[in-house]
Symmetry: C2
Subunit: 335 residues, 2 copies
């Protein structure tokens, strides 16, 4: 900046004014400064700039995801990016792989860089460590799962409602032995979906059979194995509610490997690529990760713009997409 000022033969502050489009610079000087900027290929240092500005924003936010490479996370990421981009804000993204420690490390790194706000798909259960941060003015939005012991904005899907619809749909097609396959019970959404499953069974007057409930299925292999076990029970399930992506994929693989994909109903939570071209096509309860990301980012920016109203807890609806696998009847015939 000093070089630009020297080359243009003006004071430092005049360059600053031009760079910031501040009024009160004569057209002649402005032209000279702009020429010098172009000639020296100068770009203002955003970090130094924000350091001096009173209460300055870094125009940067942090995003903690389960894994940037997983389709749910990355769709959410894209929606956050688009919303942020519209405001000239850049996004730091990080994966925490359901590790609470990694969540804290990531948020710590964000804090060191003085991000304006943080959007988190939380891995930990206790967020009191963020209280100071929040009071210091960093906007904070939790997505997909709620904050633990912290009053903060939240955006999630209707997990219970979706599970109720899913199980109700299977019951409606005549099933009474419906298996539940899910992720680690430490994960909020996994617990909620299990709750919905039990609620739906209860309201259909079906007793919960704990043998049909399998949790902790972190990857498709585990899920496939669980499905094979379930189907070799003396009184096997006639339908599977695979309450998470990996379970769905594992379930599909397991059913196909034993040739039962047309006999046993399968309904998944969360949509899967190519679900529509499989035979039978896979019925799912679809979340809208884009809407989750967009809503979270909009909430975050509203807070950054000074909205100090009470915490918001948005629940976005989910949609049943019937494609075939969820409409198989207990006798093994399609409807």
């Amino acid at each position: 900046m000093l070089d630009v000022a020297a080359l243009a033969g003006v004071g430092l502050k005049t360059v600053s004014r031009v760079v910031n489009d501040e009024p009160g610079v004569s057209p002649a000087l402005e032209a000279k400064v702009r020429r010098a900027i172009a000639q020296l290929n100068y770009r203002r240092d955003a970090n130094a700039s924000m350091l001096r500005r009173l209460g300055g924003k870094t125009q940067t936010i942090g995003l903690v995801l389960e894994d940037v490479a997983n389709p749910f996370s990355s769709a959410l990421h894209r929606a956050v990016e688009d919303t942020a981009r519209a405001r000239g804000v850049l996004v730091f993204a990080g994966s925490c792989d359901e590790d609470p420690l990694r969540e804290r490390e990531l948020i710590g790194s964000f804090r060191d860089r003085r991000v304006d706000g943080i959007i988190v798909v939380p891995a930990s259960e206790d967020h009191t460590y963020l209280y100071g941060e929040q009071r210091a003015g960093t906007a904070l939005v939790f997505v997909d799962r709620p904050a633990g012991h912290l009053d903060a904005d939240t955006v999630g899907s209707d997990n219970v409602g979706g599970a109720v619809v899913a199980v109700g749909h299977l019951v409606g097609h005549g099933h009474r032995r419906i298996a539940f396959l899910g992720d680690l019970p430490t994960i909020f959404t996994a617990r909620e979906r299990l709750r919905g499953y039990k609620e739906a069974l209860a309201s259909a007057g079906i007793a919960v059979d704990e043998d049909l409930i399998r949790t902790g299925l972190r990857d498709p292999q585990l899920a496939a194995h669980a499905v094979k076990e379930l189907l070799s029970l003396p009184n096997p399930p006639t339908a599977l509610f695979t309450s998470q992506n990996f379970s769905t994929i594992g379930g599909i693989r397991a059913l196909r490997s034993i040739g039962l994909e047309r006999q046993v109903a399968l309904l998944g939570f969360d949509d899967v690529v190519l679900a529509d071209v499989l035979d039978p096509a896979i019925s799912v309860i679809a979340q809208d990760p884009q809407a989750l990301g967009r809503t979270a980012a909009e909430l975050l920016f509203r807070r950054l713009d000074g909205d100090g109203s009470q915490s918001v807890h948005d629940v976005l609806p989910v949609t049943l997409i019937a494609r075939g696998s969820g409409e198989i009847r207990p006798n093994g015939r399609a409807p």
Copy 2:
């Protein structure tokens, strides 16, 4: 930091020494400082810190992808993140949607924040605008596609070789009318794969039939439409080489919708989730986006560590995965 110094009753510089684990602080003072830091929940401002440090690094890199939400990009992203994390470096990620302007904007934003290095899946053809940046010491690595008119490190897949293998495989199964479905010809990888397709046909002594080449298929709908057109030609292809993800998905949908998935061979470039459970399962030439990302990040950090040797142009191998769809013979029978 001033508050910490005051509370601990020491000078500013002593706090700085403690924060940076510099030697020359007595244990007694260090303990006092650490207590004050904990009590005030203090965290050093990384931006201010790097501002003062001579030639300081921001411990931050920028990553320009086609779309953070697409599986190839996000797998690459994850590998970059992991490599960066191991060094305490945070990643800014952005999508440019094949828009050269957006690529420049993103890189400009990165530059404003003084990232240490940039990894790009480029959308533009001319990167001379990065020359100054590069000379100023910002490390620069191009992934998946080469830099345009700029001497810089590059990591990519063996597109030509993969296409040659793919088409050779189809020829080996008796096909002579093989259609090519691809992305925009402005995209380097699309051109390379088309080149490999033509080379393989030439070496098999098959004349190129331009009617069987369809490009510009930006989404599955366009690809599906193109496949339907191809199959209604008077002399239709007996095999499809879908040279990109969207084309593969569109091709699968189109074949299924007209019931020809067991008659027409299909071989895709780039693997697809659930390709193995389809019937027939989809044969592909698989890239390794993780390896691309890891290699690119390692290259970047080697440069940041001061390696000033000549530019490297890595080409990573691809793998043929035969699952069934690519082994269908022209008469419509599996082998």
